[in-house]
């Protein structure tokens, strides 16, 4: 049986040139609403990709359905706009079939966590090396404004005129509960941070989950402004940096410290606490990642962003490949003759 490489052997190999962001812009008109946060996410991906030196033709963006899921159309790579909620499953098949490709998923809070929740937790546990960007705008954009599984309790939307009765998911906790090996949170309006996350995710071997706060200026405008706007941002966001203490505030004068397992915000100004009292972020600490992820559920705390968790563990497709190789080593490459004639047969004359 020929392997894909062989089938493509006549194709002239293009030497990997130095790409620019522009090289990743497809010829399709971008059809998001003017002002939509999706534009920034697209831009950051296009900015980071050139650094990675992955040949364009080895990149695939897979998506489901939603505004965010239009993403692949705008990337000048291979792109697959799937059906609602199934991007992770499609991407799983593709990556297992073709481990040499760099496979990315663009999904929304509805696509990825409502209808697609099951595929999402399963890709996390399997640790298939797919990079999942979840555009969290806490609303169903494409269907014009129903609440989503990340919308806050009591949110008034078209489908919840009296307020959403659902307690929302914390996407990071869901991913961690499913034992994702890479978990991060970025924001459309913090390009640098987002680029950094995308870069790290790209380099991670295994499922890399990125929640991105994304403003839907039509149906849920300002949902994250506390965390993204200049005036409020510094006091309401704490950026996680591996090995560094959790400091935040306009003046860098506040920090996060643990009381038991509960993070609390403390001032570094009044001399009661110093940097030494603060949590030192450790991307490899599973339990810390849970604590930090849960901070969004707790009052009076800044919102952590950045890379919460990043550990390496075997990927699903590596094990599949290993089994195949070891079987071939043991039994030899399968042939049609072998298949048809192995085991018990008899001859009639």
């Amino acid at each position: 049986m020929k392997h894909v490489d062989e089938l493509l052997k006549d194709v002239p190999k293009i030497s990997v040139q130095k790409y620019t962001a522009k090289d990743f812009q497809s010829d399709q008109d971008v059809r998001w609403c003017p002002g939509c946060g999706d534009y920034s996410i697209l831009a950051q991906v296009q900015r980071v990709l050139p650094e990675l030196n992955i040949p364009k033709h080895n990149l695939v963006f897979v998506s489901g359905i939603g505004c965010s899921s239009r993403f692949p159309y705008y990337m000048d790579t291979y792109g697959f706009h799937g059906i609602h909620g199934r991007a992770a499953a499609i991407a799983s098949g593709l990556k297992v079939a073709r481990p040499e490709l760099s496979v990315w998923v663009a999904t929304g809070d509805g696509d990825g966590l409502s209808i697609g929740g099951n595929h999402f937790i399963h890709i996390c546990r399997r640790n298939i090396d797919v990079k999942v960007i979840l555009f969290n705008n806490q609303i169903y954009g494409l269907t014009k404004g129903q609440y989503s599984p990340t919308s806050e309790f009591g949110k008034v939307t078209k489908s919840s005129p009296y307020g959403a009765p659902d307690h929302p998911f914390n996407p990071l906790l869901v991913a961690l509960g499913a034992e994702a090996s890479f978990v991060a949170r970025g924001m459309d309006r913090d390009p640098k941070l987002l680029q950094n996350i995308i870069r790290r995710a790209a380099l991670h071997k295994g499922t890399a989950f990125m929640e991105v706060y994304q403003n839907c200026n039509v149906f849920n405008d300002g949902a994250f402004f506390t965390f993204t706007e200049k005036e409020t941002k510094d006091d309401n966001v704490v950026v996680l940096e591996h090995g560094k203490p959790m400091i935040f505030g306009k003046e860098k004068d506040k920090g996060i410290k643990l009381e038991g397992f509960t993070p609390i915000a403390v001032s570094l100004k009044d001399g009661k606490y110093s940097v030494n009292d603060l949590i030192i972020h450790d991307e490899k600490d599973t339990m810390l990642s849970f604590i930090l992820a849960r901070m969004s559920n707790l009052p009076n705390l800044p919102r952590p962003v950045g890379i919460f968790y990043a550990v390496e563990r075997q990927t699903y497709e590596q094990e599949v490949a290993r089994q195949i190789e070891s079987s071939i080593t043991k039994l030899g490459e399968g042939t049609l003759d072998k298949l048809l004639n192995h085991g018990e047969t008899w001859i009639i004359k």
């Binding site: 049986m1 020929k2 392997h3 894909v4 089938l7 493509l8 194709v11 002239p12 399709q28 040949p55 080895n58 990149l59 695939v60 897979v62 359905i65 692949p72 159309y73 990337m75 000048d76 790579t77 291979y78 792109g79 697959f80 706009h81 799937g82 059906i83 199934r86 499953a89 499609i90 799983s92 098949g93 593709l94 990556k95 297992v96 079939a97 073709r98 040499e100 490709l101 099951n118 399963h122 599949v320 089994q323 195949i324 079987s327 071939i328 043991k330 039994l331 030899g332 490459e333 399968g334 003759d337 298949l339 048809l340 085991g343 018990e344 047969t345 008899w346 001859i347 009639i348 004359k349």
Partner: protein, 609 residues
């Protein structure tokens, strides 16, 4: 003292006992040995939905029927000649399938008070004369088994589990079969526990010797090899054949096979089988559900593998949305539906043919998909191969319908030579010049297969309507109308590629019996029997359900009456009437069981009298 040996043309034996009694194993051992002897044969396993229903109960009975002969065998047999009943429940449930004068071999030890009560017998049927019209042999199988291995000092549990080999041994003796193949199998299977090898072998021999030494059996039978076409044979079930057909196609096409599947009875064995062929680079992805099964297969197809997904009715229902996506994407994909009794969970371990309309019509909007149906267990190989070939040639999802009866049934199979299989030429598109993802091959209307990893062909596909040629998203009214019709046209056009359908029997006449799928053998037997009686009746068996072969309409015109027997309420009948506007007579049975040939014969008689 050897009993006299009678020659028989064909025999049907049914092994029946508790789910825990190993009847499926006994049956398949008998099958293998019989196949090796060169008989033609057909089998019908029949087991309950419970894994191991409480011992002795009526619903816990597991059966295995084998019909073999020196002539061509097409069905597992309408009635059986020999019934092996390990307990009263097995007797009760299966008695109605035993012909008058047939042989009953009963495990007398199993007919104890408790079991009689569980089987709702007031009096022991072995004693009350109610079985007088049969030849009853009550054998103390449990006791004899225990005696045979008492010196091995094994637990009663192990002894219990061995007793089916005693029955097997008796049957080997009765039908003059050698023990060596089963002994070899026992040695292989239990190689880690030598005491079990020893026990089972002893018990098997004890059963054989029991026939040889005692005088309770009046006769012994010989069934000569059938005059099968010369060549190398193997015994194969429908599910195995399906798996192999897929691997064979992958091998011929030079592409990797990717199965995305979620277990479901009676399709799971295809997953099991394919998961064994790692050195064929077959990748099996046991997905979290049926939707992920098909979605992952589509992802793999997109990546240049042969994406396959296997399931049964309820699973097919879950896959329909994704099937629509595959239609829009025009990627090759093989969807195997091993039909079972429904609706809903229905009768999960029983057979049925009622997913035909779901396969043909069960998707939102106009989403045409070719549908192919396998007719015999071994025929699943060819059908799976053909489904894959069409999927690759036309860049389309293809549905392969088999059913529980075909899936579990076994028959001897003349192994094809690899060269005799149709070529499956596949070319990925690699030329970046003027590449258009929805341009088309003039003849097949297939679009190019341009897989990720190919430099310069970066492009985007998806479930929104595609613009002709460019494949860009298009909301244009005219384009949509065009594309909807084009997709239909492409699938309809596959008919050009298909061999003409042929009729078994006369080319015109009083009655044509039209079937599809697993009813092939029963219809064939019925029609042949009636033809022998001089009736003007022919058989047309449809393998390509969508699109129909081009000459089907012509054929139908040549008969006064058309009979369509189906294990559903008339689904092929509906399609035929809709398409050809010819009235058909329906024969429908939805019992979870295959047709018996005599049921069809009766109907033929009725129509031709």
């Amino acid at each position: 003292m050897a009993a006299k040996i009678e020659k028989l043309d064909e025999v049907t034996i049914r092994f029946a006992g508790d789910s825990g009694d190993g009847m499926q194993l006994t049956g398949s051992q008998f099958t293998n040995t019989t196949a090796l002897l060169g008989n033609d044969l057909s089998t019908l396993p029949d087991y309950p939905a419970e894994i191991r229903a409480p011992a002795g109960t009526l619903f816990g009975v597991s059966g295995f029927q084998i019909h073999f002969g020196s002539k061509e065998i097409s069905t597992p047999g309408d009635t059986c000649d020999v019934l092996v009943a390990m307990n009263p429940a097995a007797l009760k449930v299966n008695l109605r399938s035993l012909r008058d004068g047939g042989i009953i071999i009963a495990n007398r030890d199993g007919f104890n008070e408790k079991n009689l009560k569980l089987a709702e017998y007031e009096i022991n049927p072995l004693d009350d004369g109610s079985l007088d019209k049969f030849q009853v042999h009550a054998v103390d199988i449990t006791k004899l088994t225990t005696l045979a291995i008492q010196e091995l000092n094994l637990s009663t549990k192990i002894v219990e589990r061995s007793k089916n080999f005693f029955s097997l041994g008796m049957m080997y003796w009765m039908f003059s079969r050698p023990l060596d193949s089963s002994i070899k199998w026992i040695q292989e299977k239990f190689k880690k526990t030598p005491e079990i090898v020893e026990a089972n072998t002893r018990v098997l021999k004890a059963g054989y010797n029991y026939g040889e030494t005692t005088e309770i059996f009046h006769a012994r039978y010989e069934v000569k090899p059938a005059s099968l076409a010369p060549g190398r044979y193997r015994s194969i079930t429908g599910n195995e054949a399906t798996a192999w057909g897929l691997i064979a196609a992958s091998s011929k096409a030079g592409l990797d096979l990717f199965l995305g599947s979620y277990p479901i009875t009676p399709a799971s064995e295809i997953l099991h089988e394919l998961s064994r062929y790692k050195n064929f680079r077959v990748k099996t992805f046991q997905a979290e559900d049926e939707i992920a099964g098909i979605a992952s297969a589509i992802g793999a197809s997109y990546g240049g593998s042969i994406g396959v997904t296997t399931t049964s009715g309820p699973g097919l229902a879950l896959k329909t949305e994704a099937m629509g996506l595959a239609v829009m994407l025009e990627l090759p994909l093989v969807i195997v539906d091993v039909q079972r009794g429904g609706p809903s969970t229905g009768l999960p371990t029983k057979t049925e043919q009622a997913d035909l309309l779901q396969a043909v019509h069960g998707r939102n909007s106009e989403a045409p998909i070719p549908v192919i149906a396998a007719c015999t267990p071994a025929g699943c190989f060819e059908a799976a191969y053909e489904a894959t070939r069409i999927a690759l040639k036309y860049m389309t999802p293809v549905i392969l319908l088999t059913d529980g009866y075909l899936a579990n049934g076994a028959e001897p199979w003349l192994i094809p030579s690899p060269d005799s299989l149709k070529e499956i030429p596949v070319k990925f598109h690699t030329d970046a010049k003027d590449f258009q993802p929805y341009s088309r091959d003039e003849k097949t209307l297939a679009r190019p297969w341009a897989i990720p990893g190919t430099p310069g062909l970066e492009h985007r596909i998806g479930g929104l309507e595609k613009e002709h040629i460019t494949g860009n998203v298009s909301y244009s009214a005219e384009n949509h109308d065009f594309m909807v019709k084009l997709r239909q046209h492409k699938v309809d056009g596959i008919a050009e590629d298909l061999p003409h359908a042929t009729v078994d029997g006369d080319e015109r006449g009083d009655l044509l019996v039209v079937g599809w799928g697993g009813t092939y053998g029963a219809i064939k037997t019925a029609v042949e029997n009636k033809r022998k009686e001089g009736k003007s009746v022919s058989q047309l068996h449809i393998k390509y359900v969508n699109p129909f072969q081009k000459n089907i309409g012509e054929i139908l015109k040549n008969y006064k009456k058309i009979l369509v027997p189906e294990l559903n309420l008339g689904q092929l009948a509906l399609l035929l009437q809709a398409k050809y506007l010819v009235p058909v007579i329906k024969l429908n049975k939805v019992e979870g069981l295959p047709f018996r040939a005599d049921e069809i014969e009766k109907k033929i008689d009725e129509l031709l009298k």
